[in-house]
Amino acid sequence: TSNMKLILIFSALFGASLCLETFVGHQVLRIKTRSEEEVKKLQLLESLAHLELDFWINPSSPALPVDVRIPANSVQAVKAFLESHGIRYSILIEDLQVVLDKEKQDMVYSQQRERSSNSFNYGAYHTLDAIYAELDHLASEYSNIVSKLQIGESYEKRPLYVLKFSTGGSNRPAIWIDAGIHSREWVTQASAIWIAKKIASDYGTDPSITSLLNKMDIFLLTVSNPDGYVFTHTTNRMWRKTRSKNQGSLCVGVDPNRNWDAGFGGRNSPGASSSPCSDSYRGPSANSEVEVKSVVNFIKNHGNIRAFLTLHSYSQLLMYPYGYKCTEPADYAELDALGKAAASSIQSLYGTTFTVGSICTTIYQASGGSIDWSYDNGIKYSFAFELRDTGHYGFVLPATQIIPTAEETWLGLKTIMEHVRDNSY
């Protein structure tokens, strides 16, 4: 559009006037070294600072290619050097600025489309900011039943937002649902935001959710570990823990699902490590993680939570307490039957099978887990879900599976919530 062209021209002029760095005429070459000698020659080239070479892959070994960005006025000199030494290369990018301009255009275009259509793509994975924006959007679009609360802040001071679904009353019995306590389990945060939309839009049309919300409230924490989630986007897709610093160690983070006050600590805490570098590090003390403490405080202060449901991935399991010990909970029979009913609902949609059982007998013995804490604090209906899949993609579940996963999980959650609604205690 002509508007866009104008914007591009202005920003180019503006950029030029601000002396913004441009990459016009810069080339990116891929150099294929065939010997240590050739590697050394490239390292020599690397040392010539006046050429202003920017190595994207530095020369280190003959087995690996060397990628280098060359400013326009050094291109001929570098090529002459390579050719005179018989070093082979190919041109990866002819003109870097062209590539960058196209990328910027694409981004502007896609941003414009998103803004004008104003629809959040539930079938894709999103950044924390995008999810938080959608929380606001839901609270505004469905303001009659949805409100957003802040229950605390993460270690890096990001807000912890909970959506409250309520048709009124005062401190009604409520259901707690959380997702993303382990940041790499992306399908859980993605499912949670879909579930939020589902609850909001189904009220008034779906008899089950309508009757539920007429009696009870739902609290939904879509991103329990925002610091970890951001880290999986910026740095390490496989990050699991919080991002808190550990005294006396270079290793960062605590496993937030080993940090709850349930069987915590002791010399032999099963399944929970005492080493800060471990992915299941329990932390220096129970509730040391602000992400955990904030939820504990909220639940205790509310005082009327009847179910505690937490989403994890992967393995396709539906579990009830205990994890910290392998003995049956007092309500074993009821929880097992309810779990099986929920698994059956899940299976009814796409045939996805979930295994039902206690944490200890189904997955592994592990102390400091959230549903053990909630159960031992009087919340009978405490369940932990491990969503799709069983290991083929694991944590990197394709986005195409987000909505089917959310849909089937929702059926399982509904089965449990209906039972909670009909069985006050």
Binding site: A63, P65, H233, M238, S273, S280, Y393, P398
Partner: protein, 176 residues
């Protein structure tokens, strides 16, 4: 439980073709975990019937890689969003098979490994008929929840089985 030797398990399982869910084959296996856990478990198995013939797809992939001008290099398969491009799918499957060997060699009764992701793969050009790939993979160990980087060198040719000629556990960086 076999006194002085270890624990033996008898398994009956169904193998399902990853590329064709309706294609299944019955299998029985015996797994012996040795006392002390310092050697890989012994595995014996029998398959009822035949595994699907993948000759055509194998040849297409083989010829495509053989005719590449530059050695194949790729990272993050699947990517963060679970995507695997069609060209990379065979590379992914090859890693899947090869990682099975690495997992077997490093399994005990207290481990459960899955291939989490291919971090990096680099083809190593050879003068003989084999294809060689140097993979750095991430293994997810379920019990400890650790992500373990692992290097493996994989050899393959359509008419020969997959070989892992070298593999080694890699250190994890404290800063990650």
């Amino acid at each position: 439980d076999i006194n002085g030797v270890g624990q033996k398990y008898h398994l009956e399982l169904v193998l399902e073709d990853v590329l064709d869910k309706d294609s299944t084959v019955n299998c029985t296996a015996e797994v012996l975990y040795h006392l002390g856990n310092n050697i890989p478990p012994d595995v014996q198995f029998t398959i009822e019937g035949e595994l699907k013939n993948a000759e055509e797809a194998d040849n297409i992939f083989y010829n495509r890689i053989k005719s590449l001008e530059k050695e194949l290099v790729a990272e993050n398969i699947p990517d963060s969003h679970g995507n695997v491009s069609p060209e990379m799918e065979p590379v992914h499957l090859l890693a899947w098979v090869a990682s099975g060997y690495v997992i077997w060699q490093n399994s005990t009764e207290n481990t459960k490994f899955q291939l989490a992701q291919i971090k990096r793969v680099k083809q190593v050009k050879r003068s003989d008929e084999y294809l060689e790939f140097d993979y750095t993979i991430l293994l997810h160990e379920m019990v400890s929840q650790e992500i373990i980087p692992w290097q493996m060198t994989v050899l393959w040719h359509p008419r020969h089985s997959v070989q892992v000629t070298q593999d080694s556990r890699q250190p994890k960086h404290a800063s990650e």
